[in-house]
């Protein structure tokens, strides 16, 4: 018993440090933004920053579940593209259809998540290959369905989810709907991971599936549910992205890697066993702050990639060093 509580304490201490790291990166980057552009301290601009970062944060919290279970989900970006294209085609500009279609989008997400989970758990295909396959498949389906170019239209009530900013809200001033959704999703993700038995099971599965199985954890259902959560978060992010800027065929391109990067910067350990929602949140915010900063600096967009690479190595490298020192 003491051994277990020791590790538990160690984990808690560790995760606290990791949060600090992603938080530190974010604060430093945001401070740099403010130095360049003081009006980013305005509540309204900060809210706008959050509005734009919301999809990536939501993707990262979903991806975190899969990472904690020991896998990867490369199909998230394709799901985002599918959601944006499908929403536009199915709604066809008719506001009455919005809510029905949103429900069916979640059904599609559920299907993709179940497929991923099933392929990994039952067909034993490594998740990196399985979700690479579904990524190609879903992307191809979305493009084939739309004929390769966006069709239909998104009505205002759909767009508002990612676009509308409520004015004159007490305390915060302005409040984008996307930020409201972000808060709800993040709280849900936090609750599911850190306050339920399910969360503990997920960590156990990621840490050592065989041991977890011997301890009576239903490994396969736990795994599958992680993929489902990830896909559903991708649907949510897709709805926000479609709302923020409208339909496009490459709405989701590259988002899966950004989501994984956000988790890693937030201290999540690839192949499972360690990571927190708060870490993923600040990891995603750091990435987004970096992008904004580069925009403000007027640096070539391409260097974004390079700096993202440097930050990734730095974040993971630092956590490796800390980990070594503490053991």
């Amino acid at each position: 018993m003491t051994a277990i509580s020791d590790t538990a304490r160690a984990t808690r201490r560790l995760s606290l440090r990791n949060i600090n790291f992603a938080l530190v990166i974010f604060v430093v980057l945001y401070a740099a933004i403010v130095v360049l552009q003081p009006n980013y301290l305005d509540a309204a601009l900060f809210m706008n920053f959050l509005r734009r970062a919301a999809p990536l944060i939501i993707l990262a919290s979903g991806q975190l579940y899969v990472i904690l279970s020991g896998g990867f989900d490369l199909s998230m970006g394709a799901v985002v593209t599918l959601v944006v294209l499908a929403a536009s085609m199915l709604i066809g500009g008719d506001p009455e259809m919005t809510w029905v279609v949103i429900a069916s989008l979640y059904a599609m997400g559920l299907a993709v998540g179940l497929a991923n989970g099933f392929i990994v758990s039952f067909l034993k295909v490594p998740s990196i290959i399985a979700t690479l396959g579904t990524m190609l498949l879903v992307n191809g389906l979305a493009l084939a369905w739309s004929g390769g170019a966006p069709r239909g239209d998104l009505p205002d009530n759909f767009r508002n989810l990612g676009r509308l900013v409520l004015k004159d809200v007490p305390l915060v001033g302005s409040l984008p709907i996307a930020v409201l959704i972000l808060v709800v999703v993040t709280l849900l993700a936090w609750w599911g991971l850190h306050a339920t038995a399910y969360g503990k099971r997920l960590l156990a599965v990621g840490d050592n599936p065989r041991a977890a199985e011997l301890a009576g954890v239903p490994v396969k259902p736990t795994r599958i549910s992680a993929f489902v959560i990830s896909a559903l978060s991708a649907v949510t992010a897709g709805i926000l992205i479609g709302g923020f800027s409208g339909v496009s065929v490459n709405a989701g391109r590259g988002l899966e890697l950004q989501a994984i990067a956000a988790c890693v910067i937030g201290g999540a350990l690839l192949l499972g066993g360690r990571g927190t929602v708060v870490g993923a949140l600040f990891g995603a915010l750091s990435l987004f702050a970096l992008f904004t900063l580069l925009n403000l600096l007027g640096l070539p967009q391409a260097l974004r990639d390079s700096l993202q690479g440097v930050i990734l190595i730095a974040a993971v490298g630092a956590s490796v060093l800390r980990h070594r020192r503490s053991t």
Partner: protein, 375 residues
């Protein structure tokens, strides 16, 4: 880490010298395209895809062959809506001429040079083709493959060219400089000296896009208009909107937005809406969503084009060549019109999807509008 940054810096320096050694700024080509823009087109009235701007005709008697013909097409890919609409135009033209065409074989290279070279090779090995149409992924890469094909059958190249004169004809609209000239001259005419323009672009390094910017930049410089930024957004609407928002947040007044392609023009405009600012003067392209927004919001705007009707021309050329009829060559310059306030209404078709390119010349083709995604 230090080693890496030194390496990165060395590479960056080495490469940036290369980058500036050869820019897309060719004054002779700029001048030529400016003249072509005002050249009167020859050919059937109202059918710009059959017209040509000056240039010679080429004799094709030696290619004469009895029909019906198998036309082979090596396509760079359908990785953006422009190419999707274009390919539909080509299929539409083939459907129109179906009596004279046995088969239209299309191989899609998915944007990979290496695959397109193999695709052309396998079309030649297949031995079915009477004529080969190529829309190259990149100019230099496809040159040897096209040269090899020229030895076996008549070749037609369109959109992007190749570094050889062996194809019977190379079909293209006026070009990137022309696009930049039309759009930038309009913006310059609407703004006072010292005004600010923001340039939104797709990706760096692509010839047909770089020339658009280079032409626009020199016109802005001449007119004393400041280009406050030139940003790449990979045709991503979210990125475009974010970039424009960031510029708005800097507090600099943006008087105009210039775009090297219009597919994210409405996203750029939304950034102004969300910030509660008036719309800027804007240059977009001939996509339906931009045209509709322009009409609805009474924008001060222009839509230059890189017309997708050029995808019809290769089929027409192929059949003419196999008939032994002379065609414009070795370069076939197509007209490159722009949509202005006066002509705006005639290009709007509410049935068509958002990113339908209005200068498709496809309204009379079989299957319109359903084949193009319309209702």
């Amino acid at each position: 880490m230090q080693f890496r940054s030194i390496l990165a810096a060395t590479l960056a320096v080495a490469f940036s010298t290369a980058a500036y050694a050869q820019e897309f700024n060719d004054p002779a080509e700029f001048k030529k395209q400016r003249e072509l823009l005002s050249t009167k087109a020859e050919g059937p009235e109202g059918k710009p895809w059959e017209q040509h701007l000056g240039g010679a005709m080429i004799d094709t008697a030696k290619f004469k062959k009895d029909g019906p013909h198998t036309i082979c097409f090596s396509n760079a890919g359908v990785f953006n809506p422009w190419r999707v609409v274009g390919l539909n135009n080509m299929k539409g033209e083939a459907a129109l001429q179906k009596d004279r065409i046995q088969e239209l074989v299309i191989l899609d290279a998915e944007g990979k040079d290496d695959k397109q070279i193999s695709d052309i090779q396998s079309l030649l090995d297949g031995g079915k083709c009477d004529v080969l149409i190529v829309s190259p992924t990149t100019t230099a890469a496809l040159t040897p493959a096209v040269e090899a094909a020229c030895e076996k059958l008549p070749v037609i190249v369109f959109d992007r060219g190749v570094n050889t004169k062996c194809p019977v004809t190379y079909i293209h609209p006026v070009g990137g400089y022309g696009f930049g000239i039309t759009s930038a001259e309009f913006i310059a005419s609407k703004l006072p000296k010292g005004a600010n323009v923001l340039a939104i672009r797709i990706v760096p390094g692509v010839d047909v896009l770089e020339t658009r910017y280079s032409a626009a930049k020199s016109i802005f410089d001449e007119a004393g208009i400041n280009v406050i930024g030139s940003e790449f957004t990979s045709s991503d609407r979210a990125k475009t909107k974010s970039v424009v928002e960031d510029y708005i947040n800097r507090g600099v007044k943006i008087d105009a937005v210039w775009m090297d392609a219009g597919d994210t023009a409405t996203a750029a405009l939304e950034a102004f809406e969300d910030a509660g600012l008036p719309y800027p003067v804007i240059s977009g392209e001939d996509q339906q969503d931009f045209l509709r927004k322009w009409q609805k919001e009474n924008l001060v705007a222009i839509a230059p084009s890189y017309p997708t009707y050029q995808w019809r021309t290769p089929i027409i050329a192929a059949l003419d060549i196999l008939d032994g009829k002379p065609v414009p060559g070795p370069e076939w310059n197509l007209p490159q019109p722009a949509i202005t306030q006066e002509t705006l209404a005639s290009y709007i078709d509410e049935r068509m999807p958002a990113l339908h390119y209005s200068l498709c010349g496809c309204q009379e083709l079989p299957g319109y509008p359903e084949q193009w995604g319309g209702k």
